[in-house]
Symmetry: C2
Subunit: 370 residues, 2 copies
């Protein structure tokens, strides 16, 4: 597997231009509200403008990308659900019955489902993108989850999916995933990159009991002791203790950032993907927003490491991209504020600094300004 | 002013029936997700079902009601903006250029604007509901903000506006307000009901400087010392140190609860209205959700008193109903989860408790069940 696309993508990612942020805030400060009074909605608007580098950008197409993969580590008994739930849920996604389908419809987003590593041969699944790198990972508690070249392949799939989404008109992307057992590699990746002990970054996933939770922590400790992953080698970390969908998620973020498209990062698994992406290319962080604070223990450790502040705190822990879908709606809310609110001058409203009524404009309206 | 409607409305409000909450959670637990994994979205869905007392309710019409009023206390120099901004912003609402108009459009809600006490004679404002009780309050630092009968009148306007919104098909209501200077009466009301000192519940409103902030705290202390409002007499508190729009907001909550319609409470001012409503009738609390945690200092004191946990923390402090509009969208998200997600049986997904694949249903779909 060539690393050419990965290297070219990383090389193309530029840090956010602060001048665009300042220009966007200047417009926000002319709108009929006290300065800064829409808080994070204003921040999201300025961020979107700066990512897109357009003075009046739009959001026409929102895409949630779900990477699905299986995990050899389920042999250790770390999940409350059997492995076949991964492919059963992929079928549920394709038929539109899962949580992410409902929330994507609610926010007006499309859903793209990618089989990057499910341990199942799908037939008759129109709409499912087959980019299977391998039929699941190996058991990371006993051996490397994947070969280094499979890690490159997973990242490459993510980059190519991002490129395709952008080519199809995607303005903003959200990350989703499905993979029974995947909180275990995600926690292992978090421990490897943040230096925190396994217990500090391990949660109960889909809901394991106390004994299984203790066992899960031990499995992660065992894997870290076995592989001694080097945080300076993100590809090595991903290969030893990661997952195929975690690689896909990281690749999606890199591909989106290279094309100047913003990404809403979902919860625990997606944030592990963000750690891989940011360790490969620190500038990618500027293109990410943390959609929500997962109820999964350890998520806040990863977010703090990345310097990302979650938009929503709704005690969600489903994954699939459910938090990220809601996050896209908030970005759109901020952008509509930026585009559609009247300015003090347009509305003839007195601004605080003058204390005098502004000149009434002749183009007061609710639609987008010119 | 007769208190007949107020009394009849309070008498009609019943506490939420816990059996409806349990029945809704039973359905939520059959959906293809780990139990409880959609956190507060599930809580909102069950709440909506229990408020409406329907097994499969819908949300067809969402209404944001904005009460606008002026405040005599602006004579004390407590606001960063001149009083005419109240009527200028009402005109902005009518023309669709304000923040609440944008966010209401974004969430698909209608906006109803009520002049309950603006110090301005409006002409040629189609869409503005004239229910003016008085052209603003008196200066609460020197005399009672309003007569007791005006407080009853303001509450009655709120109840009647709620009744009209329900009669027009409103499924869910959100509270909004506009009134230059209204963080001062809101903070005074908060201090009177919670027993906290003025400094603990007073914020910077639209953005006053340090000296003005200190002065604002002193004005509120002076008002509390002058009127000695009795928290056991909510009408007396509202009359002495409240505002006409605060009365309207409280009335809206009472009227909605009596008609079993849920209400999203916006920020600082609306929560002061909620305190008045809950002190008049404790059961009204079951019909309220706090949409967001305002950046205004003291909001959390009021929310803690009411036992309400805010849905959003977005550093917003605009008012107008902007947080409440976003909150309605989250309720709708929860309800769609409840209505549209496939069950384990429908989707043929293995549940955790059985470990065996569920029988594949013959009605897997993304639309509402039955």
């Amino acid at each position: 597997m060539s690393t050419a696309l990965l290297e070219a993508t990383i090389a193309a990612i530029q840090p956010l231009d602060q001048a665009w942020l300042a220009q966007a805030q200047e417009r926000l400060d002319q709108l009929t509200k006290p300065r800064g009074s829409l808080g994070r909605l204003e921040e999201l608007a300025a961020w979107y403008v700066a990512v897109r580098q357009e003075p009046l950008p739009t959001i026409k197409k929102k895409v949630v990308v779900i990477f699905a993969g299986d995990h050899g580590v389920v042999a250790e008994g770390v999940s409350a659900y059997p492995q076949e739930v991964t492919f059963q849920m992929v079928a549920n996604f394709v038929r539109g019955g899962a949580g992410i389908n409902v929330l994507a419809r609610h926010v007006g987003a499309e859903v793209q489902i990618v089989d990057i590593g499910v341990n199942h041969e799908f037939t008759g699944m129109p709409g499912l993108l087959n980019r299977k790198v391998a039929p699941g990972t190996r058991n990371l508690a006993r051996e490397a989850a994947m070969r280094r070249e499979d890690a490159v392949a997973a990242l490459t799939v993510g980059i190519e999916v991002a490129q395709a989404a952008v080519a199809a008109g995607g303005d903003i992307l959200a990350t989703g995933e499905m993979g029974i057992g995947n909180t275990t590699p995600a926690a292992a990746v978090a421990a490897a990159f943040t230096g925190q002990p396994a217990a500090a970054v391990t949660g109960r996933g889909t809901g394991v009991d106390d004994a299984t939770y203790q066992h899960k922590v031990q499995v992660i400790e065992q894997a870290l002791a076995l592989h001694r992953p080097d945080p300076q080698d993100p590809l090595g970390v991903l290969a030893a203790i990661g997952g195929l969908e975690i690689g896909g998620l990281a690749g999606l973020m890199l591909g989106a950032a290279a094309a100047r498209r913003p990404v809403l990062v979902d919860g625990f698994i997606a944030t592990a993907g963000a750690l891989v992406a940011v360790r490969l290319c620190p500038a990618v962080r500027d293109y990410l927003q943390a959609a929500h604070q997962s109820a999964e223990n350890g998520h806040q450790v990863m977010l703090a490491d990345l310097g990302l502040r979650p938009l929503l705190q709704l005690d969600m822990r489903l994954g699939e991209g459910t938090g990220a879908a809601l996050g896209m709606f908030l970005v759109e809310a901020g952008l509509r504020i930026y585009r559609e609110m009247a300015t003090f001058a347009e509305a003839g409203v007195s601004d605080k600094d003058s204390g005098e009524p502004a000149a009434a404009g002749n183009s007061v309206h609710g639609g987008p300004p010119h």
